[in-house]
């Protein structure tokens, strides 16, 4: 009696790894930054974070399962990633219900309404952050005195209008280590880079988007950052402050909301840098990262449309060696 054989379409071999594993890697990569924030600001900073994650889980479950009647996909871990990224973009002093609300909005209205994981056009954490910022501007920008001797204003706010008023910038070393005012995950560049390095090693992210993004911001703030002279801007402070590092390595690299092709990704990253720098230098907002991310997210379909790669052999390819 011959065995019953299964007939399927090739290939019959699949690589190890899963989408869930990728999400887990992102969560692991955020741990150093969380550790640094806890070290500098105390355990209480984990509260808004926890509420943001819970909100994200509740938002996804509520919208996906209860309202839309689809399958429960919480196990893919993407809601946790969204909650963490949002939580790290909130000031430590935010009221906990707001953190929860932000998480819920991120997954329910920015992600699930559009079809869930991979279908959303906007980074959920960034979308929710901008919503909170527009709805409760004062709560979203009160950083509070957090460490002895650390001023309540963020370095970027000081850079924008504080230097004249006599407020001192923290030196670059402190910016890099992270004991300064800011939202949870914005503070320690060192810890963020550790996590980013892990993601690169695990091949979860590639460096093209973060590097082009940072380079563009650096170039523009260096060139135009000083109101009196060209090429005199304080670009290191711009690079190390605010949510730039977090956004460059963890938000701009979000798969669903960046272009598909390599060329498209580079255009996207340069656009992010341009918008971030322009907002920081020429508008009333000290920080431009979230706006830049959601603006460029909206342009992704357009970028995708014009950067469809040419199939191998499609152009009038060089036929001679």
């Amino acid at each position: 009696m011959s065995p019953t054989l299964l007939v399927t379409s090739s290939p019959h071999l699949r690589a190890q790894g899963s989408s869930q594993g990728i999400m887990l890697d992102v969560i692991l990569a955020l741990i150093p930054a969380l550790g640094a924030a806890t070290y500098f600001f105390g355990l209480t900073v984990l509260l808004p974070l926890t509420f943001a994650v819970l909100g994200a889980l509740a938002g996804e479950y509520g919208m996906r399962v209860l309202v839309l009647g689809r399958d429960n996909r919480l196990a893919d871990l993407s809601a946790i990633v969204t909650g963490l990224l949002l939580g790290m973009n909130l000031p430590p002093s935010i009221p906990l219900p707001l953190a929860f609300l932000g998480g819920a909005i991120a997954t329910a209205f920015v992600k699930e309404v559009f079809g869930g994981l991979g279908m959303n056009f906007m980074n959920p954490a960034m979308g929710a952050r901008v919503f909170l910022f527009l709805a409760w501007p004062s709560l979203m920008t009160s950083w509070g005195p957090t460490l002895d001797g650390v001023a309540g204003a963020t370095p970027l706010a000081i850079l924008k209008d504080g230097e004249a008023a006599g407020q001192a910038l923290p030196d670059l070393f402190h910016l890099f280590i992270g004991d300064r005012a800011g939202s949870l995950g914005e503070t320690s560049v060192l810890a963020l880079l550790l996590g980013a390095g892990y993601l690169v090693l695990r091949k979860v992210i590639r460096l093209d988007v973060p590097l082009v993004y940072l380079a563009t911001v650096g170039l523009i703030t260096w060139t135009f950052g000083n109101k009196t002279a060209l090429f005199a801007g304080n670009f290191p402070v711009h690079l190390l402050s605010g949510g730039l590092i977090l956004a460059a390595f963890f938000m701009a690299t979000d798969y669903a909301t960046q272009p598909v092709s390599r060329v498209g990704k580079v255009i996207f990253a340069a656009g992010l840098g341009l918008v971030t720098a322009v907002i920081r230098l020429y508008t009333n907002y000290p920080e431009g990262v979230s706006f830049a991310v959601i603006l460029l997210n909206c342009l992704v379909p357009l970028i995708d449309r014009y950067t469809v790669p040419k199939p191998f052999g499609a152009p009038k390819a060089a036929q001679r060696a």
Binding site: L6, S10, H12, D76
Partner: protein, 446 residues
């Protein structure tokens, strides 16, 4: 961006070439062979024998007047017991000849080495030999070797890449038969008037490279080019790019960039045929996979039922769930062990349910790994989406037809999405649409 000799994309696969060090074992003819009359890409042959006929080894049992066909020969001596349609992999019914073996293996007396004094005689001989591309697709060799009149072929490329996991039949052919390989190369170069031949081989086969360099490397015009080991190095377009830096335009053929690509085993068969006149009636097949008791290379008669081949390799050590003819990336899953080895079978692999069952797909996270891995620079995720929505406009915009079904995209997808399956569906949708348009145009013309 290109590392030398490396095409874009592709995937690093586990090699799993467990049979590489086992010399080929010859399997005695089975009691019965099952020979389909379509073993090539093209038109099916007409049977030239009927039930009750006595046939000998090398005797033609099916042939066609059409150009895109290669004759089919009996691989045994014995009696034709059945000529009828049978179900073959891919769900197609093919006219098939069954022959009961008499065990004597009497060769056809009229078989003599072909007289080859010019190109026309050479091509005629290639046709009579029944040779098809043994690397996988089964393209009739005499068609491949007669490029359109305008083409100025300058290079013969020998495909020894053997990039799929498990398969080692070409590798064993190089080690066991290199003098035939050289003879075949020289025959081809002489008859086609070529002065350059490049043998492309992946650099994970040092023993074969050494053997090739020793035997073929010193021949005039012949060079051995080790290539980086990355799937699908053996895909025709990738190999042409790697060895000559020429890219075959979409929908065109190697002859459009002045090269002819032949598989190693095909070439050494040609030399053998020129010496003996015995057409293609046997094949070296890698029998492997987790369920095979004694994985090895076996030389089998064409038409040998799969169940006999597996039995010869010690049977199954555990219950197989999926049996593949060819490699795990592009091979075809078989519905039954009652099908048989055909001309271009290079491997038979048996997998248990652990590897055989399809993984469950989850949502696309748009990670871009599929497009990064696509050697044809396509966007598999978009092809998948367009195919599932039957969106013909997107299917053609994203170049569905350029897909060579290499499987890299499905292999790397972390969400285990069945991309290639959807792309095949998309191709079918495009073909149906094209046929409809044609039919409508013809209807209007009447």
């Amino acid at each position: 961006m290109f590392r030398r000799n490396l095409f874009r994309g592709g995937a690093h696969l586990p090699h799993l070439k467990t049979t590489a060090d086992h010399p080929t074992v010859v399997m005695p003819p089975p009691n019965k062979v099952i020979i389909p009359l379509l073993q090539h890409m093209g038109v099916i042959c007409e049977p030239t024998v009927q039930e009750g006929d006595f046939v000998q080894v090398g005797q033609i049992i099916g042939d066609s007047h059409k150009a895109m066909a290669a004759p089919v020969h009996s691989s045994v001596s014995g009696t034709v017991t059945n000529v009828d349609f049978q179900l073959w992999a891919g769900g197609i019914q093919v006219l098939t000849v069954e022959i009961e073996t008499d065990g004597l293996q009497t060769p056809l007396k009229t078989l003599v080495p072909p007289t080859i004094t010019n190109k026309a005689e050479f091509l005629a001989a290639v046709r009579v030999s029944g040779l098809v591309g043994l690397g996988g697709a089964g393209f009739p060799a005499h068609v491949k070797l007669s490029p359109p009149p305008g083409a100025k072929i300058d290079t013969l490329i020998i495909n020894a890449a053997e990039c799929e996991p498990y398969i080692t039949s070409d590798y064993r052919e190089i080690l066991e038969n290199s003098s035939n390989l050289l003879g075949g190369i020289q025959l081809l170069m002489r008859q086609l008037g070529l002065s350059r031949c490049i043998i492309g081989i992946e650099d994970n086969k040092p023993a074969a490279i050494a053997e090739l360099k020793k035997v073929c490397g010193r021949a005039k015009g012949v060079s051995v080019m080790p290539l980086p080991t990355r799937y699908p190095q053996g895909a025709e377009k990738m190999l042409i790019w790697a060895t000559t830096r020429r890219s075959v335009p979409t929908g065109k053929f190697p002859s459009d960039v002045n090269v002819i690509v032949m598989n190693v085993t095909s070439v050494s068969f040609l030399a053998e045929f020129a010496k003996t006149g015995m057409p293609l009636v046997k094949k070296k097949v890698t029998v492997a996979g987790p369920c095979v008791a004694h994985p090895q290379n076996v030389e089998v008669r064409i038409g040998t039922p799969l169940k006999d081949v597996f039995a010869f390799a010690g049977g199954f050590s555990s219950q197989p769930r999926k049996v593949i003819m060819g490699g795990p990336m592009m091979g075809v899953a078989q519905h039954s062990l009652e099908t048989a080895v055909v001309k271009h079978t290079n491997a038979l692999l048996a997998f248990g349910s652990e590897d055989g069952e399809l993984p469950e797909a989850s949502a696309c996270i748009r990670c871009g790994r599929c497009s990064d891995a696509c050697p044809m620079s396509l966007l598999p995720l978009e092809l998948h989406r367009a195919a599932l929505r039957n969106n013909l406009e997107d299917l053609s915009k994203y170049g569905t037809m350029a897909c060579m079904e290499c499987g890299c995209c499905s292999f790397v997808c972390p969400s285990k999405i069945h991309l290639v399956q959807a792309i095949r569906l998309g191709k079918t949708q495009l073909r149906i649409a094209a046929a409809r348009t044609l039919a409508r145009a013809e209807g209007a013309a009447k």
